[in-house]
Structures are given as structure tokens and as C-alpha cells.
Symmetry: C2
Subunit: 565 residues, 2 copies
């Protein structure tokens, strides 16, 4: 017989699936007239936003979209993109925000793999969308042709409804491909559409493809429970007060904007849209709307730091900036601090809903000089409030490495802010969850205070004469030189040492004449001899759409014998 | 075949039961040296607190305590009480914090009903505990005697291990009954005890008995999921920044201190203990430790408001005070504002983990005069951030009442911040969850902005000549008179009108000579004629241990013909 304590079942009164959709409904009810979204001169209240999301969801439902259907987007950070974060899951469907910087090939792969039924496209991305859709049709035709003998087989042509989002702030050509235009289409929807919470909080809410440096991207599935919890966790990590104003410097297609569309609904705050990352515009919007918060990869912060003072609109209020997406060199954290922006360094991966760890600041850091503070703050740190655990484990034994700042292990996560799994890829899912932990692939040490510090991606370690060299350490040394804008260090094959470090660097404006010898001398001053790059190559460095440096391209260049730009 | 999105199961890597125990482990790891608890001159860090909780849990385990065993306490707001909120659930057991103001009869009932296996007692409550335990033995003896013919029946004597908590701040007699003393007992435990999260987030974490004005109290069971979510929700409701300092004016035995022991762990903040609610001491502690936050029933706030200025230590920083536990008259909210304390009005019941709704402030209220602000703020408002819904429903049709500020309905909750159910009382559980909503028993209207406003407890409505009179409205009118300290209005049987309102009042110091006629004239000025009390009786008003006025006692007095103190 069950114990009396166990005889009290879940009922509709005391158990409701966790879903970020609840945040929107609550905020629209309590703060109907507060501004939810600012885009150009357009202001949308929470009531309007909720009504528009319901119209959008109603229209999707009329198209036959429902549970587990995929709705894809090729959109910048505009209202329709924020609205999709609510409208799509309201129907039970799954939101797939495609990285707008991808090529047509990859987009076609994603649309096919995700079995997308709807695609929303901004005019800026119509050309690439057109190409991707054409590829998809071509592939389907070829498939049909190959299977023509099988009469029972229906046409494999994937039918995708394309919806053009004629954004008011887009200044290019009014290129369209779809039969429907977003604004007039949703206007036909019911603003009181009776949407439902998911039947289970474990249901999929979104699908984010990894930026995969090699091979096909993997489809990372998020669920309602995780999205709900990480949205709240963002607020706790920042101690974000209600009604904060947030600027969308971070692409919404990247891990659902690190879950911030949902955080801002929970916060009853204001989202300021931004089609494109332009530093001058960013300073202008921060000043105009008293923006208190923004996020971005290190490259965004780097652009702000390197904006000449005369181009910046002065900002006289406190701004909180979150940096993640790649380990930021101490120089960037230090630079932002000098700008007067308070940096919170978070860490995570697509598989952890964006940030799932933060470098929690300690009181006694305030007494340190700014460079030492930045050094402390450049670590990946500790788990997020609502993430159960992040540890540096030996991937062989699954035991924690000692907190000695030396022993290399792999960062692993466990908790509710870890993806549901990879779509249609049970093997990869099983591998990455082996031993009951999510394996991040990031190599790290644990410091004496328990904070994790990434030394490298597994594949980025340079093994030279049997010694491991952290490419990050070499990059950090380079960043300390005043001429360096960007630095990427990779392994170069070497007959004697197997591998040697090779640096690619971009120089700041006005520093174009810095000599390689000067940079090498600087490195010798800051690094052990075996870690000093054997070559330093000045060149523009290829970046992924999320601002990560594409080291695999640099390695290809080296194989092809490239030695200068 | 399941859809690909549904083929991604929960694994130990991506699913961890929600439990507030995770907050403690995380904070102890990240902020080991920060102060967790202050009690007199004693300061305990989070590392120490975590170690003590693990020792405590280890010792409980050695006593055989495990899943679903009940551990009861008769403790004031001291460190052992906070520690019990973590140590007990670490073992899988259920924490039952008994209201220390209860009589021995009721305590004996609770210990028996909860099948408590351990009781922690502060010396202040040893006399009542001794009596309760004696009653329990006596009852068991009688039961055994009655069943003596049944030889297979083992003794029904409930074996309770009693642990004395010899609190350092207790200044009375060192009275003890147990075999064990808390400090020396936990010192024998393992500070690295390997506790486990609950196997299921639906497992019971605590048991809180309602203060039940009539009949036996009901045992309200909380689960780990709800405790985790409401602890986070408290932080969001207050926009509480990390590392806040919180003063324990609210009894920890009341709804687990509204879940704030767990909130403070999530916040990595500091709890300042307080054995007894003494206004002078409260002002002193607020000033000394720069306390930023405290909670309490209206009576606590009333005491602070009525503390003469020369007895108050001046407070020069912003203090946030949360009021709940009973609908606060506008006069109290206004009084606190005049004191310079910022009031957040929350609402809830034992069944909703304490506060599960708040009167969310709107920007445009700031332009109103203080009385109008207080009036807006005296409403029960809207659901908590992580509570799914609170609505005023017609209990017959279960449809929402119109937002007209007139139509009476019942406040109902739905969501994860609703109890698991009543222990060993399936009928009451079923009744209170009827129709998929938790029925609060509070009658309310919905205002045009959707905010709920309690008009009365169902049983507190006075029905006079067919008209409903809200006792609360009459009380609010009385509170507006400068002489009134406390007011309670109840129905008095009347031959002509069936019922008439009768007021019991306490007068402020220096106002003892206010005449009944003056008070009646004041009521006639502020109330419709039929709502003016037929009698006003000056008397001390009996209160429950949580500060609620015991109207059932007043009704008894009236039946017995009482007309004055």
C-alpha cells in the first residue's frame, strides 16, 4: 500500500506543465499597456503582442499546423521573430529559427531534416531562401524519379508554405516569394484564439541546429520545461528587476536568443529590436531607450570597445552586458569595464539553451585591479541558478578533476537546462549523454574556488613535442598587445614537434603597420617559449554567423600552405 | 510510431527533479564564506550551514529516518529551524513545523496524525511539548488497553525521539525533555553526508497544519517541485537582487516561512534570526544589518507603525516589506508607506505555499495620493510569476465573474504552487480541488484591471435583511478612525434582520477614552446605513498564532451574550 504522503496525485488544480507561454499570458493580463516591443518607431504593448501571437497561432492552426510540426524562420531580430517564439508553440508546433547567415545548401538541408511545413522569410533573405527551396524541389524530383517504379510511394515533394515578412525597417528591395504576407495574414486570425499549454512539459518547443564546423549540423531539441526554467534562470543570474529594457544585439536565431524572448515576457520588460549589429546604432538605442541589458558573443563587445569615442552617443546610465557564445579573452572583459558597462560572463552551448553557467562575481574581487578582475571574470564559472550541476570531469573515469587549476578534464552539465536530445540522431544523443552527463566537448581545469576555466575545445588543443598548448592562452597573450583586434591560434603540422602554434591576427585601425617581430617579442614576454607562435599571419579571420572564429578554415589554409593574407 | 520529437526520453543528464535542496548545494559551493545565518552574535557561513545540514541529515538517517517519515519541530526562528528545512528533506523525510502557539491538545493531535518520529523542541516550548507527549502516551495506553485481547496487535505507543535545541539566545529556564541535545548531537554527524535529491519532484517535502478555526486542523502536504518554484517566484515577485539580507519576522512554522528559507538559499543571501516579534528589536536589527527585506501578517506591520518614534532606531536605507496572511486594511499599507517602508502586498493560503499572488504595482499609481495608492495596493491582485492562474470564479458555474468590482465569486488557484493535498483526507482534498481549481474559500470581486479583491471569507459575510455586508469593508472604515488599533466585525444574530454587524475594537494607547458614539458617528460617515455596526465593543481581540483575528471566538462571545470587555 502506498504511503499516505504518496497517495496525493497530480490534478489539474495542482499540476500545470511548465511552459514559457504562461509568462506571456500572465504579463499581458497584468501589464496590458506596458511596451513589449520597440521596432523603429513602432511600439507594441504586451496586450497587442499577445493578441498578435494568438492571431498568428490561429492562422497557423488553420494551415493545419499542430503538435510536432516544424515552423522555420529566416528572420532578423524583428517583432515577427519574437512573436514566433510564442505563436508557434501555442499551436503545439516546434519553432526552428534558422541562422540567417547560412548558405542555401545548409538551409535546404535543415528544412528537409526538420521536415518544415512553414517558412517565414524576411526580404533580406529571400534570395538565399529561394535558392534553398529550389534545391529542395530538385532533390525531391530526383528522389521521385528514382522511386518511380514504386507506385505506392506518394510524391516526396515537401510542401512548405512560405510567408513573407515585409519588415518596415528593411531598406532593400521588396523581394517576395510566398503567397502570404505576414501582417495581412495574421490580421485575419482570431486575437482571442484559444491556445492550450502543452499536454506535457517535456514536449518539444524549438529546434536549433548547431553551427557545426564540420559535417551536417545537428538538430538540438528544446522542451517547454527547459525553456521555462532557463528563462527564469536568466532573470536570477542578472538579478534583473521587473520591467527591464533589453536590446536585441544577440541573434534571436541563436539558441532562441538564449531564451531571452521568454525571460522578457516573465519580466514584463521591453525588447528593443535590431536588424543588424551596428555599434553606432547600438550606442544610440541604449541612450534613447535607457536600455539596461544586452547580450552578445565576444565579437559584439569587441566592436563596441573599438568604436571611436566621437562616434558613440554618450550613455549615462548603468548598462549590464552579458557575454557568452565563445570564451571571451580577458582583454574584452576589461575593455567593456573601461567603457563603463558591467559585464556578466555566462557560458553554455546550443545544447544547454544558451547560457547555463555564469562566472558569479565575488565581493573580494572588487579590491583587485581591473586586469585581475577581468581574469577572474573570464572563467566559465559555475552552474546557472536553475541548472543542477556543471563539473569538470575526467571523461574516462567520470570523476571530478582536482581543483588545482592544472588537471585537464571536460566540462559536463547535468540538469533541466540540457536539451531533450538531437533530432533523429539517437547515436549522437546517446554519446553526448553518456554516463548521465552532457559532454560539452570543452576542455577545462577547475580552479581552487571550484570555477571552471576552459583551456580549449578538445580539437583546439595544440600538442607540441608532447606538451599540450592551450590555443586560448596564446590568444589571450596576443590580445594584451594594443594592436590586436582579433586573434585565432591553431595547430600547424610540424615535422619535428608534430604540431606548433600558428597565429592569425586582425589589427586595429591605426595599427596596420605593427610588425610581426614586435608581436613575436610581445608573445615571448608573456608566454613559455614552446607556446610562442611559430608564425603570425595578419589576415581577416573567417567567422561563423554567431561570431565564432572558424578555426577549421584556418587549418585548411595552413594545409594549403597559406602564409599571409 | 512516436514522432521523432517524442523519441527523446528523460535521462539523468537532462532531467533532474526540481528540489530546493539544489539551491543550498549550489550556494554553498559558489559562496562558501558568505554569511547565511545571523543569530545573536553568531554568524554562520553558507559552507558551515551546508555542513551542519548534512550532519543533521546524517544523524537523522542513523535514527532510521528516511522517505516519508515525519520530523516535527516546536521551534522559534533560530538556526536549527532553518537547518531543518534542508536536513529533513535531505533524508527523504517530511518536515512538519508545528505552530509554537498551539495548545498541548492540538500539538498531540498533530504529532499523532502526522505519525511524527522525531520532535525538535526549544526550551521555551518544553512545557507544552511535555504535556502533549504525555497526552499521546496516555491515549496510546488507553488504546492498548482497549485492544488487549488482540495479542497480535503490537503496542500502539508512538515512539518519538525528542531532541532539545538549547538555543543560545533563549533567556528562560534550561528546561529539557529529550535524550539528545541538538548541537552535540549533530556534531557527531558527517559534514559530507551523501544526501540524495528526491526520486521524484512530486515527493512530499513538508507538512503544514492549517490554523483551522473550527474542527481538527488539516495537514497540508507540500512537494519538492512546488517548494522549488515558489522559492524562485518569491525572488521574482520582489525583484530581489542576489545576496539580500532578510529578517525573520515571519514565523518559520507558517507555510515554511512562505518558502523563504529556500528563497534565501537560491539568493545566496543572509537570514537574520529573530526569536520573537518585538518592534524595538526589529528596528534595531534592520538598522544594524542593513536588512533589506522582511515579511509578516498585518499585525506585525501594525506593531511597527504603532511603535513610538523615540523607541525606533532610525533606518536610513530602503526596506521592502511583504505583507500577507490576512487581507491588510488600507490603513496599514498606508501607515507602512508613511514609515518609509515599501510594501509589497501578497496573498495566499497554507494550501498555496504561502504567497501565490501579489498586488503588482502599476506605474500610474505613483501619481495618486497615498491613500488611493494604498487602496489599490490592498487588493489581492494577480497570480505570482510561477503560479499558473488565480481567478475569481462563480463556484456554481466555475465561470469567471465579470471584471465589474461588484459580482461576488470565489478566488481559485491553479498551478504548481498549490499543495499536493491534505494528508489522509481524500474527501477534503477532492472537495477543495473540485472542477480542476483549488477553492480558496475567499469571496472576492474582480476589478476592471483584473485584480481580485477579497470582500470576505465565505463564512465572514454578514447577511442582513437579505443584503450581503462585507465585514472587511466595515473594518476598513473603522481603521480609518485614529483611535482604532484593531477591529473585527462579525455577524450577530438578530430577530428582525437575521444578522447585523457587530464590531469588536482595540484602542490605541492614549485613545482609551474615545467614546462609542464617536466611533459610530465615524462609521455613519463612511458606510451605508445598513452596514454601520449595531454594537461596538471595546475589548482585547483573540488572535491565532499567526496573527489572524479569531472571529469564531467573537461569535461565541456574542452567543454567550457578551457586550463589553
Amino acid at each position: 500500500m502506498p504511503h499516505a504522503y504518496d497517495e496525493l496525485p497530480r490534478t489539474p488544480a495542482n499540476f500545470v506543465p511548465l511552459s514559457p507561454l504562461s509568462y506571456l499570458a500572465r504579463t499581458a493580463m497584468i501589464y496590458p499597456t506596458r511596451t513589449a516591443i520597440i521596432h523603429g518607431e513602432r511600439h507594441l504593448s504586451w496586450q497587442q503582442t499577445y493578441a498578435r501571437c494568438r492571431q498568428f497561432a490561429d492562422q497557423l492552426t488553420k494551415l493545419g499546423i499542430g503538435k510536432n510540426d516544424t515552423v522555420s524562420t529566416l528572420l532578423p531580430n524583428i517583432p515577427a521573430m519574437l512573436e514566433a517564439h510564442f505563436a508557434v508553440p501555442m499551436t503545439g508546433a516546434v519553432l526552428n529559427t534558422i541562422n540567417t547567415r547560412l548558405d542555401a545548401n545548409t538551409i535546404a538541408f535543415i528544412l528537409q531534416h526538420a521536415e518544415s511545413k512553414v517558412l517565414l522569410v524576411d526580404p533580406e533573405f529571400v534570395p538565399v531562401a529561394r535558392e534553398a527551396l529550389a534545391q529542395l524541389s530538385q532533390a525531391a524530383l530526383e528522389k521521385d524519379s528514382a522511386e518511380q517504379n514504386n507506385s505506392e510511394q506518394s510524391s516526396s515533394k515537401q510542401s512548405i508554405v512560405v510567408i513573407d515578412v515585409a519588415d518596415s525597417e528593411w531598406q532593400g528591395a521588396d523581394d517576395r516569394i510566398g503567397e502570404l504576407e505576414y501582417e495581412s495574414w495574421i490580421a485575419q486570425g482570431n486575437p482571442e484564439f484559444d491556445w492550450q499549454l502543452p499536454s506535457d512539459e517535456w514536449n518539444a518547443i524549438s529546434l536549433n541546429y548547431t553551427s557545426g564546423t564540420t559535417g551536417n549540423p545537428k538538430g538540438v531539441v528544446y522542451h517547454h520545461r527547459g525553456a521555462y526554467l532557463n528563462a527564469a534562470s536568466n532573470l536570477l543570474a542578472w538579478g534583473m528587476p521587473p520591467h527591464s529594457t533589453y536590446l536585441w544585439t544577440l541573434p534571436l536565431f541563436h539558441c532562441n536568443g538564449w531564451c531571452f524572448p521568454w525571460s522578457m515576457a516573465a519580466n514584463a520588460g521591453t525588447s528593443v529590436c535590431l536588424r543588424k549589429v551596428e555599434p553606432v546604432k547600438i550606442f544610440e538605442l541604449i541612450a534613447r531607450y535607457k536600455v539596461g541589458y544586452f547580450c552578445g558573443a565576444p565579437i559584439v563587445h569587441n566592436m563596441l570597445i573599438n568604436t571611436p569615442e566621437h562616434e558613440r552617443v554618450p550613455v549615462n546610465h548603468q548598462v549590464q552586458a552579458m557575454v557568452a557564445g565563445a570564451a571571451p579573452p580577458a582583454a574584452i572583459i576589461e575593455g567593456m569595464a573601461r567603457l563603463g558597462f558591467n559585464i556578466t560572463h555566462t557560458y553554455g552551448l546550443t545544447e544547454t539553451y544558451g547560457p547555463a553557467a555564469l562566472c558569479a562575481k565575488q565581493d573580494d574581487w572588487a579590491a583587485l585591479d581591473i586586469a585581475s578582475q577581468a581574469e577572474r571574470n573570464s572563467r566559465q564559472g559555475v552552474p546557472y541558478h536553475l541548472q543542477d550541476a556543471m563539473r569538470v570531469l575526467d571523461p574516462q573515469t567520470m570523476q571530478p578533476v582536482p581543483n588545482d587549476g592544472q588537471t585537464l578534464g571536460e566540462i559536463m552539465f547535468r540538469g533541466n537546462i540540457v536539451m531533450k536530445g538531437y533530432l533523429k540522431n539517437p547515436q549522437a544523443t546517446q554519446e553526448v549523454f553518456a554516463g548521465g552527463w552532457f559532454h560539452s566537448g570543452d576542455l577545462a581545469v577547475a580552479h581552487s574556488d571550484g570555477y571552471a576555466k576552459i583551456t580549449d575545445r578538445s580539437k583546439d588543443v595544440i600538442i607540441s613535442g608532447g606538451e599540450n598548448i592551450s590555443s586560448l592562452e596564446v590568444e589571450e597573450a596576443l590580445y594584451r598587445h594594443p594592436a590586436i583586434l582579433t586573434a585565432a591560434v591553431v595547430a600547424k603540422p610540424d615535422d619535428k614537434w608534430q604540431e606548433v602554434p600558428c597565429a592569425f591576427v586582425e589589427l586595429k585601425k591605426g595599427h596596420e603597420h605593427t610588425s610581426i617581430d614586435e608581436l613575436l617579442a610581445h608573445c615571448r614576454q608573456h608566454l613559455a617559449k614552446f607556446k610562442v607562435p611559430k608564425d603570425i599571419i595578419v589576415s581577416e579571420i573567417p567567422k561563423t554567423s554567431t561570431g565564432k572564429l572558424q578555426k577549421f578554415v584556418l587549418r585548411d589554409w595552413l594545409k594549403q600552405g597559406k602564409t599571409s593574407a
